[in-house]
């Protein structure tokens, strides 16, 4: 029988290799907030005549928007981001572009958010993730109430959830400074879905452990957990693969508006599947065996590079 449980510290190491750079990036660069979280204006412009990026940038500077960020989209439109502007300023901006560039500007979309809304959004987003984690902790503890120490199951599932949240935010922090990808309200939505999915996947494995334990179990907890993981791994992979197929289709064809959203889900579902197999139930064993001492001594062990 393939031994996953015995190699648990290798899996923890792999998680750490992804999470630690992410945390460092989060601490140094943070996340790149979109206007949803810091206020401002974002618009997509389409010009009837051909206009290049530098022309648009200098024209915007001429009519008073020196700080404007201009980005060309795949469809040949431009995404322009600036500080918060009023309806009148928006009209002036458009007519200014028309006169200076001698073109007709079509504003395909416009989004203006004031600081009052932005700060509330950011706060609510944090609360939402936090409340979701608490709700899930409570439910799993309830669902496993007939098992000894039900709180452990909930805590380990939430730990795996935190793992997934850290992987996704870490990667997005890195993508923020490396590729300019911003965090918006849809990111939070994606994140909460990942949270739901992560737990969904973890519970299936936990459910199997619960069942195998209550059947009397074969040998010690480590064996039961290992066989439970092996019994559910096909299902985990099949489900995750089907969801990933769907998401990839959405990612490739779904249009720019939900691009980042699907990216969050793709990364989240991969890490969610990983953590349900390699982290959540392994933590149950770490807890059961009180391997904290070993975990601490593991750091010099890592230095010696011995398995």
């Amino acid at each position: 029988m393939f031994d996953i449980v015995g190699k648990r510290y290798w899996f923890f190491l792999l998680s750490a290799l992804i999470i630690i750079p992410g945390i460092i990036s989060l601490a140094v660069f943070g996340l790149k907030p979109s206007i949803d979280f810091k206020s401002g204006t974002s618009m997509t412009l389409h010009f009837s005549t051909s206009v290049n990026e530098s022309q648009l940038r200098s024209t915007l500077a001429d009519i008073g928007y020196k700080e404007a960020i201009v980005q060309r989209t795949g469809e040949g439109d431009f995404i322009v981001r600036l500080s918060e502007i009023s309806t009148e300023q928006n009209q002036q901006l458009l007519s200014g572009l028309n006169t200076t560039l001698d073109t007709t500007t079509e504003q395909k979309d416009l989004s203006v958010i004031s600081p009052a809304v932005a700060s509330q959004t950011a706060r609510n987003a944090v609360i939402a993730v936090f409340v979701a984690a608490l709700g899930i902790l409570a439910y799993i503890t309830f669902a496993f109430r007939k098992m000894p120490k039900p709180l452990r199951w909930g805590t380990c599932a939430v730990a795996a959830l935190v793992h997934d949240v850290l992987v996704v935010t870490g990667i997005f922090s890195i993508l923020g400074w490396a590729a300019g990808i911003e965090i918006d309200a849809m990111f939070i939505t994606g994140m909460l879905t990942v949270v739901g999915f992560s737990v969904h996947d973890t519970i299936v494995v936990f459910d199997r452990i619960r069942e195998n334990l209550s059947r009397g179990g074969r040998g010690n907890l480590e064996n039961v957990v290992n066989s439970s993981i092996l019994q559910t791994v096909t299902r985990s992979l099949n489900t995750s693969l089907t969801v990933l197929f769907v998401l990839l289709a959405l990612f490739v064809l779904g249009g720019a508006t939900i691009h980042n959203f699907t990216l969050v889900l793709i990364i989240g579902i991969i890490t969610g599947t990983y953590s349900s197999i390699f982290s959540a139930s392994q933590l149950l064993i770490v807890w059961e065996n009180r391997e904290w001492g070993r975990f601490v001594s593991w750091i010099p062990f890592l230095r010696k590079k011995k398995a």
Binding site: T44, S86, T87, N90, Q91, E106, Q107, K108, D109, L110, S111, V112, I113, S114, V117, Q120, T121, N124, I127, A128, V131, A132, G135, I136, Y139, I140, A185, M186, I188, T189, L192, T193, V195, G196, F197, V199, H200, I203, V204, D207, T232, T234, R235, N238, T239, T242, V243, F245, V246, L247, A249, L250, L253, G254, G255, T257, I258, F261, T262, L265
Partner: protein, 443 residues
Amino acid sequence: MKRDSYFLIFILILVGLALWAILPTDSTRLGRNGFQLGLDLKGGTHLVYQADLSKKDPSQTDEQVMAAVKAKIERRANSYGVTEPLIQISGEKRIVVELPGITDVDAAINIIGQVAQMEIREAHYDSNGNPVLDAEGNTQWFVASALGSDGVTQKELTGKYLKPNAQVVLDQTTNRPQVAFEWNDEGAVLFKAITARNLNKPISIFLDETNIETANVQNEIGAKGVITGLALKDCQNLVIQLNSGSLDVPLTIVQRTDVDATLGSDSLTKSLIAGAIGIGIVIAFMIFYYHLPGVIAATALLIYSALVLAVYKLIPVTLTLPGIAGFIISVGMAVDANVLIFERLKEELRTGRTLHRAVDEGFRRAWPAIRDSNISTFITCAILYWFGSTFGAFMVKGFALTLFLGVAISMFSAVVITRTFISLLIGGGMVKGLSIHEVKKNV
């Protein structure tokens, strides 16, 4: 097997109803005229207004003021000709206004958010009867007031004494547009007293602190008046505002999102194609991996999709781009329940159970995992819905709702539809074709 036959009939009726609900017809019964599309899919403007409640009438509660503002915005949007505007109070002092499919966004915004407090003002005169001017040489105006019909109270003449029947008329001689308005009984008494007092002197009509017209009073006027000097478009807008009454408090736009209609329909097409491809791949995968049970799962999935779409249409759920994403992900979760069941079924067969027992056991054992994992998704959906409604993120709310409905229906689909089909196949003697049966030989 009798139970399965009943279930099959039930499922068939359900599918029939679902298809009847989805297919487009001319009939508008039960909201069958089409899916309700969000602004991101059909284009339009999403506005969030913040009310300045410090300027409200102290005799009213915040809730009353907000409700009145909401009602007036609704009236204005309707008279401006917006089809299906959506106006909701969000939190204590915000109002979310969605205007689908309008072309002149800025004009619409002007009409909807203007306080539109109309006032009749008279000039300020010194003791010698000369107008008092400010430092820049402008006339000083103050709100005209007069004794009301009770003969005791001094009342200021404002838009609240207007009848809601103002209209744009053409001046007979100049052929220019003007706004004809009518005072109610009390307003007529006040206007008569004020015009009598100001004969051959100027009075002004102010709208939201802006002087829109000043005229010399030629004779005493009672119930009716006209406002001239405005362009036709402005006249029309003023009429909408006067007739809906002034907003009780000033509003400022704190969030504005416009989506062009072509962009919207483009997004819709793209995501529908993505959805179709996604479901296609899932079906292919299930059939490839599980053979006949995969075909059953695929059929169940198609029925599932029809049911979900019918529910979206009947509730109705406003479909947004993330909402469609929510639906597509719920397809993934619906498949998960089938995968869980089939994997269990295989295991039960491996332990040597008969097919009938294996089906029963497989479903029974898969159920706690399906239940517990889906409830955790429900928890997430509930929180997303709350998150979406507290700050007016209509896209987040749409996603939460479609995901919730999708997962709920997927549980039904897996447990009732898939199970009925499998049982019927076993009962119908198609067992030999059921390839999961072969796992017994493989092990």
